[in-house]
Symmetry: C2
Subunit: 772 residues, 2 copies
């Protein structure tokens, strides 16, 4: 962990001192977004220091030519890159011709603040120029949660010790680059620039795929409450427009530039109307005014929090962290558009590329399922349904037939982007998470309609894949699954990964159940689906049943633990504690072969399986496996600690659970992995939410019923979280003595506390003694 | 196999028709070299069609920045690229201002001929220009085997139907590129250009590592026997010099340009003297004259053939092929310089990079051991001795200690170049081949001095590596070696590869023997070596003995075959014959994961081990393993068939042996793999030699004695090959009836025919009936 430079505050992230070394980290941490677009906390004015400029429009990407050392047959040609888009915040400032640049000016009274309750980024500072002239700046901006194609900036300048001219240059600029580009190309081609006094639009398109994006700006300037009439000089060039405004300023007075941007993309509009639509968004925003926009934006945020907040009493650092995580999840994905998904870095950086990993199904879905309406999770499922044909094509490329589907490891449009064989071709457990997500959604929402509309086809494609992916081993007299990479990516090309095999047979079993359900309840629809998918039910399901019965699930009789894979016990078994500090993280100090043949585990693997199917195993089994695997786990994936927190809570390892919780929840704020400058770990944030609600809060779903088995960390006075449970909204509070539930909705709900059933009617509360 | 376009001729490769589609293939196949440098069969005159220009200076390379998709800790920063160097053959020709360019002129009477007996490339053709003017050209060149820094060209032009001006522009050009460059850079920086009438020099250096190379040219022109006085225009620019000569020509007369090039590198000379030395080489060559140089060059080739030729009676295609292979091996490596080695493409292309793979020890060494003086093989061993410290550093990077050495998979200077973890870090069996080569050398030459001088240190480093690379498996009660890639690269990250484990314990066992020998015969030297290497003999050797005793060597009791690796029998076992033609080669049609989990074998793996240690196994064991593995072998490595030919010959599978022999011997001439345009498979050529001599000829060494157990392919009237055996030179002839040996040396020799001892005195012959 780096030295902490941010203040602890329950609702805010606060930076109190200007230190250029922290700037790129803060650019990530203070990012804002509204699900439609996102913006790193770059400065509006010119900054010549180290920065990672990042402005992202959801769904717009670039198919960057794959870079590999040694090409393997079947690799994707392109890697979909999250695409740095138009710089719409830009506003250069000059005082008597000298540029305001925090890298060259003398800076004091610097504050940067992210108000997570209201989705607002504020920054203020005083800057002294080489001439001794000083100004105070207060800049605020937000991306409207209501008008989600609009960004608004309020930028106030006060000359502190002079009278004279301040020049401001609001601009739009598409001539941007991606740091993470494979071949150092720029990805945008110019289309059109228009500029006039106090307004401008720029349209550009991606050099491949022809995504068009238009940005429009409008701006006005006030001194106090007085509107100032401007006579700007306009400029345009390829991919760029600007206005240059000279303000005659008086000492001590405050001049505020309100800049409104409208950003539209060809994802949503015909190219011909893109730029006028963007301009309309910007002009409407200006007409309605900054404070009106801000007010409705704030209210929208409060509304989000009302069904999603978590309150931790007695641990402000933990409190701040959990809100930070929830805040960024909501900024990244609002669930209104089934073409969008949750990238590993959201709108906070460009690394990794692609927007969709198995993280979405395995880690993010539970968060959205419990904190938003069911349509949000449903849209995440439909996203995969829409990609089913691509998944079938992908499997065909790899030699599978008959509608077998292999979803990609990383994707933007359904096509595989990843270019490492051990991941792309072998980390196939991702398919299982996509099936599990359907099950998870249905058991929580009871939306069984989903199965006939979309779910069955996806489950069938995945089951078919598993059925073809196993082979019969004469030697073992079992079905085996050879050559996979499990969730623990510190093993490659292993045989009979417990987790993958378990997910495979579980998928086939669940699909069989769904088939029975459909035959019983939607016989006609089922007939149609059978025809559509050429499903030879009797033959195919007979094979599935055979595989389910005869699959190899490696198990050590002596220790009574599941084995991560064939031959796991041939390794030298060591505790991660025995590693020297100088060797950690091992992925930065050990060669890959050494990591592979070691016992060390990157992230939950067997334990991930036990987490998903907790109800199938008794506590002793969980405990034996946890005791065996956790000590060997180095948690070098941000997705690892959360599952361990949940299982540790379940088996009563409070201290271990809390230690791992801190690691996951403050991963980015405290920059544990020294990489936060590249962007935040968005998907792991959902894991943090799971740690609190499913771990400490002990929430789980068994047989479609809501259960709680809480374990409050020592030092926490109380934990309070809000979840949606079907039509109800429940505020759950755990303190030292009681488990209390307040139903703040109009629907009654049923839940189990320590396996005891309780019903809570609408708008009522109940409290149960923990000792009960 | 592509349609054959080359003539069958026992001593020549002949191309009789001009077809631009074949040109790049021919550029590879007709390459010439002299061990010090090499040159693809590019045209002297300008050619605007598809070509791969290639001129290589042995030992000069470029550390091209590694290209990978996902960086892994421990990867090398640089990949040593075989470096395309100065174009010294260049000679543009114009007829009345129109360029002679076989891509635009009308070409007839085209012949290209490689005289393998004399190391000579000849080309002739008639070209018609757009004006209807016609010339005849006859071009001949060689790289002197005697003056190995000299190349000579004789280029004759005869105007067939006109009187007028022919312009010739001999030049030197360093402004060349590598097609295989990772980042499309040029690798040469200019140093100096000098030009005068009928001469010029260019010096350039590599942009990294500062290898300097100078090229000098001299030229003169004759009409018939008459020297023509020239008044050339000279030109120089960065990395380029030329002379432009206008020749007033008469119809029917022949004008011959003799161009002599001297090429020197900073491998051998101080930079300050490079260019004068190069010029001296060129001017001496010109003074001595083309025919003198050619005569001594031809004689040197005849001398080489005298102890290395193979004569096959009754199968001209096989005859041509084996000479082609021997010819290219001698062109690539002459053994005079222990800094040089045998690159996979020799001097015929740039692909793969690096000059040294385990191919050298496993496949090439036997050829040089039997066809040249012992110093050639010794230099190949010393090459690795010189790299021992780098191998120790390499192992340290991967976490090994105490002088453990891991030789690189690919190298130019001892450092690892390869950037695929499954090869770089895991294909460690290469270490075993390096140890085996020492054993192989000593048993053939009886040069035991080598062990104390160099061999022991290398063996110790490798044994230490193996001793650390295994670990104790509690579960198996054995030592295991996890996470390796065997010779069969269609398996990655496997456990207990039979071949690797066998090589490991064999190395340790041989090192123990060598220690006993040194203690008994060179006690003082051994003391010094123990001190130098910090060798804790008792502890280290005790561990080795323990590992030798308790290593896992997977074996199937039912089939009584060794198993390629743990879990091999879990695969679906299929014969390669069951593959559809459209799926082959599988590496071009199947995704990598599918290849990995299939049973298909790229090249001999278990069988490679049985080949190396043939004397430890009875014929039934060889047969059982051959019968099990060969049907699953797809031979998609050029190094695969040869080992199978040898084993098939041993167990009496004559037809199978001959089928695989054809595949290996005419691999390049007939372009089986459709990649010959990239260069030849030089190291596999040595495997072809092994096929004939060790396979059909049945030569093997057992307990340091020479044995023969021949098996003549049906259709061959006789097979005759020459080998050096210690001080003797033996010409062995096998025909339908007899096995005959002629000793053409002054030393007597002992050999075993079908385990029966025979002695053959100097300059005598013996003949044994095969039925005996």
């Amino acid at each position: 962990m780096e030295k902490r430079y941010l203040e602890i505050d329950e609702w805010k992230i606060v930076e109190k001192e200007w230190n250029p070394d922290n700037h790129m980290k803060s650019e990530s941490i203070f990012s804002i977004g509204n699900g439609r677009m996102g913006q790193r906390a770059n400065f509006e004015e010119n900054y010549s220091g180290k920065t990672l400029q990042g402005s992202y429009v959801a769904g717009v990407y670039y198919p960057d030519k794959t870079k590999v050392g040694w090409w393997k047959n079947g690799y994707p040609e392109y890697f979909a890159k999250v695409l740095n888009s138009v710089n719409w915040i830009g506003m250069d400032v000059k005082v008597e011709g000298e540029s305001l640049d925090l890298n060259t000016c003398k800076v004091s009274e610097f504050t940067r603040e992210l108000d997570m309750q209201h989705g607002l980024l504020t920054r203020s500072f005083e800057a002294e120029f080489s001439t001794g002239k000083r100004i105070r700046v207060e800049a605020q901006r937000f991306l409207s949660l209501v008008a989600d194609e609009v960004g608004a900036i309020s930028y106030s300048i006060t000359p502190l010790n002079f009278v004279g001219t301040i020049t401001v240059v609001p601009y739009l600029d598409f001539d941007v680059e991606n740091h993470d580009a494979n071949w150092e190309e720029k990805f945008w081609a110019p289309v059109e620039e228009k500029v006039a006094a106090q307004k401008g639009t720029v349209t550009a398109k991606t050099k491949k795929l022809d995504f068009h994006v238009s940005a429009a700006m409008r701006f006005e300037v006030y001194e106090g409450g007085n509107h100032i009439t401007l006579y700007p000089e306009t400029e345009k060039r390829e991919k760029f427009v600007s206005n240059t405004v000279d303000l005659k300023v008086e000492q001590g007075k405050t001049y505020t530039i309100y800049k409104y941007a409208g950003i539209t993309s060809s994802m949503n509009y015909a190219v011909a109307t893109l730029s006028t639509t963007a301009d309309e968004r910007a002009s409407t925003a200006m007409r309605r005014g900054y404070s009106t926009l801000l007010e409705e934006h704030k209210n929208a945020w409060l509304e989000k929090w009302s069904t999603a907040d978590i309150v931790i009493d007695g641990d402000p650092a933990a409190q701040q962290a959990i809100r930070f995580n929830i805040f960024h999840l909501f900024q990244t994905f609002t669930g209104v558009d089934p073409r969008l998904n949750i990238g590993p870095k959201g709108f906070t950086g460009e690394k990794y590329g692609g927007s969709t990993y198995w993280d979405t199904e395995a880690y993010c879905l539970p968060f959205y399922l419990s904190t938003t309406g069911p349509e949000v999770a449903r849209n995440l499922l439909i996203y995969r349904y829409k990609h089913l044909n691509k998944a079938i094509e992908n499997a065909q490329k790899l030699g599978f037939t008959n509608g077998a589907a292999l979803y990609p490891m990383v994707t933007m449009n359904g096509e595989e982007c990843h270019n490492e064989w051990e991941i792309t071709f072998e980390e196939i457990h991702r398919n299982g998470a996509i099936a599990y997500a359907i099950y998870n959604y249905v058991r929580q929402t009871l939306d069984r309609e989903y199965l006939q509309e979309y779910g069955f086809e996806v489950l069938l494609g995945i089951s078919r894949f598993w059925a073809q992916r196993v082979n019969w081993s004469e030697a073992k007299g079992k079905f085996v699954m050879l050559g996979v990479t499990g969730p623990n990516e510190y093993e490659n090309n292993i045989n009979n990964n417990f987790y993958t095999n378990k997910m495979a047979i579980w998928t086939m079993g669940y699909t069989l159940e769904v088939i029975e359900y459909l035959k019983a309840n939607h016989a006609d629809k089922y007939e149609a689906l059978v025809a559509k998918t050429n499903f030879d039910e009797s033959t195919e399901t007979a094979h599935w049943s055979n595989v389910i019965e005869k699959i190899e699930l490696p198990f050590d009789e002596k220790r009574e633990v599941y084995l991560q894979q064939d031959g796991f016990l041939d390794k030298e078994l060591r505790s991660a504690d025995s590693l020297d500090d100088s060797e950690r993280p091992i992925n930065q100090h050990w060669s890959w072969d050494r990591i592979l043949r070691s016992c060390f585990i990157k992230q939950a693997d067997v334990l991930q399986g036990l987490y998903f199917f907790e109800h199938e195993y008794d506590l002793d089994t969980l405990k034996r496996n946890f005791d065996f695997y956790e000590p060997m786990t180095v948690h070098e994936s941000s997705l690892s600690p959360c599952v361990h927190v949940i299982l540790a809570s379940r088996i009563g390892y409070g201290e271990k659970a809390y230690e791992l919780y801190l690691r996951t929840s403050r991963l980015d704020i405290d920059d544990y992995n020294r990489e936060v400058h590249e962007g935040l770990h968005i998907t792991s944030m959902a894991g943090t939410w799971m740690s609190v609600v499913q771990g400490f809060g002990g929430m789980k779903i068994v047989d479609e019923k809501l259960h709680f088995e809480p374990l409050l960390p020592e030092g926490w006075n109380s934990l309070n979280f809000t979840i949606r449970w079907r039509d109800a909204v429940l505020k759950v509070t755990i303190d030292g003595d009681n488990f209390s539930v307040e139903n703040v909705s109009e629907a009654s709900a049923e839940f189990y506390f320590k396996n005891e059933a309780h019903t809570i009617s609408a708008n009522s509360s109940t409290s149960i003694a923990l000792s009960a």
